[in-house]
Amino acid sequence: MSKPITIEKDIYLPQLATVEKRRLMNATEMYLRLTMDEGLFDYVPGQFVEVSVPGIGEAPITISSSPTQKDYFELVVRRIGNVTNAIHRLRLGDKVGVRGPYGNGAYPVEEAKGRNLVFICGGIGLVPQRSFVNYVLDKRDDYGEITIILGTKCMAQRFFQSELDGWSHRKDIHFMETIDEADDCWQGNVGVVTTLIPRIEKELTSALVFVCGPPIMYKFVLLALEEAKVPRENIFLNLERKMKCGVGKCGHCQINDLYVCIDGPVFRYSDLAVAPEAI
């Protein structure tokens, strides 16, 4: 190796961002609005960032805001491990480290133009989908019919309620929500998200379908989509894995020969045919 060193950028070096807004949305989900201290931050819906809390560590978090909003970006973080618990403890004005945005496999914003779109979200799976939904709503004329179905485990876990209310009142989107373990106050649909799929069969034909939710949900949603005869080329899945580097080196996020960090996190279902570890 006698080639001179030419590239000196450190791919592991986070840049600082400041917490501008924070709001606990339910018992476990924290909403954060961040601005980078220096430089522009441009991304595509579906991309993620590595968020660092000094002394605690780093975790990959998908961006929840739409890039049509340029000044800041939003994250929604579930309190589940060391880093995410530390993120919940952040206060206004605190600094976090940010690397990214990462993920070459983001939402297919160009391919989706002019197409009908269906979003199937389970619980916190709403968070990444929201980035693309809001992107599409900001460029409404570029896209066809929009259908969103959302399943949440229980009333207490609902979040983004006012935004969801907004979606449900819009005439140009079809939004349906269901609660798995509903209580007396809930007037809407009851059951898991798959129970809504037969009701959108018409919308599913010829649409691009985006699915995001917990691992177990994919299995059942994909069965339902198979039954509804949605071709695999039209289905996109947002996958999660353990991740340490975000840049295709550390090996943790590998799904067979695919890397969630560089090939995903949004995958076309037909591309996963060779990756039995995916679902």
């Binding site: 190796m1 006698s2 060193i5 592991y12 780093e58 995410t84 691992p215 340490k244 090996g251 590998q254």
Partner: protein, 345 residues
């Protein structure tokens, strides 16, 4: 670039001179085994060694290294190790592994931590004199090596031949006295050793060409061998620990006693270890032992090759065979079993 001959005494004083004033790392005896370690004197250098316990990878990707320093609230700073060193005695199969790692860490997202160490190193490789117990480099096409080193040393009996292959190698060789042009007979001795090493560095004979392995694995995903072998796997990660082409890592933050500053370190990780793919919240994406066992052999035989232009990411050093207590890690046994059961067509 050029091949020179140097007699053994001159070589020893050349190495002795090198050890003064710079970090020289060479193969030395450690009990009844060998390892790379800082070299104080040329008399400790053992170019007749069969195999080192650890591959030289640790000098480029250390078991633990600091990537960043941070001050809480004030941000992160990169930490680079620019010490530089001369590494003596790298066997051809390990050289091939280093070449592969260089590709992994330089392509796509350039890893400056690895690459700065690499670019600051000068490598004196050496041809194998004593085959180790489980080496199968002959099967993997790595019994000899053509590039990556700065100098390649070959023991031809009464002297060494030194192939000087880079500018760094030239600069280093300029410090040696008594370099002469080799005779045709000297070069023939080296060629004979190379030819012989193809055969004798092959204690486990692979029943196919290395380039057949990816296609073989294409149809082997559900083969019973994964479960059969993994039944006795301890998930100890020893195969990962000694492998010259394993490079998966973990990253963790450490806090200094002042509670205001600290480091972000990376450390080797192993895909055989339980919890390698476990996320916060408890979901483990590769929970079963056989899945992790299969993943290692797919990485060596298919996934990593796809990233580095087809070269198989197993160099036949045989260290995993030595390290594996239940004796299931031998890649040749697994690949041969697949050849037997599935054929090459």
């Amino acid at each position: 670039m050029s091949v020179k001959k140097i007699n053994k005494d001159a070589f020893i004083s050349f190495i002795d001179n090198l050890t003064k004033g710079r970090n020289v790392i060479g193969v030395q005896a450690n009990g009844d085994r060998f390892d790379f370690a800082l070299l104080d004197s040329a008399k400790d250098l053992r170019l007749d060694y069969d195999l080192t316990v650890q591959p030289p990878k640790k000098y480029f990707l250390p078991p633990v290294e600091t990537l960043l320093r941070y001050d809480i609230g004030a941000g992160y700073k990169s930490v680079f190790d620019d010490t530089g060193f001369v590494l003596i005695g790298v066997h051809p199969y390990d050289m091939v592994a280093i070449n592969q790692m260089d590709r992994i860490f330089s392509q796509d997202n350039y890893d400056a931590h690895y690459m700065r160490r690499r670019n600051n190193a000068t490598i004196i490789a050496s041809d194998v004199m004593t085959p180790s117990k489980n080496v199968f480099a002959g099967s993997m096409g790595t019994a000899t090596v053509k590039d990556g080193f700065d100098i390649l040393i070959t023991d031809i009996g009464d002297a060494y031949l030194a192939e000087i292959a880079s500018k760094k190698g030239q600069e280093l060789a300029a410090k040696a006295d008594g370099l002469v042009a080799p005779t045709k007979a000297d070069l023939k001795k080296r060629q004979d050793l190379w030819d012989e090493n193809q055969k004798r560095l092959n204690k486990h004979q692979l029943k196919c060409r290395p380039c057949d392995i990816p296609k073989l694995l294409d149809k082997a995903y559900n083969h019973p061998v994964w479960q059969e072998k993994a039944q006795t796997c301890f998930s100890c990660g020893s195969c990962n620990l000694v492998c010259p082409t394993c490079y998966c890592f973990n990253v963790q933050d450490y806090v200094n006693w002042d509670m205001k500053s600290g480091t972000r370190d990376r450390a080797w990780d192993g895909c055989l270890l339980d919890g390698f793919a476990k996320v916060a919240g408890g979901h483990d994406f590769r929970k079963n032992r056989e899945d992790r066992f299969r993943h290692r052999l797919y990485r060596k035989g298919k996934y990593v090759p796809e990233k580095i232009g087809g070269e198989i990411a197993c160099v036949g050093c045989g260290r995993c065979i030595d390290a594996c207590l239940p004796d299931i890690a031998n890649p040749v046994n697994v690949y041969n079993r697949l050849v037997d059961d599935l054929g090459l067509e």
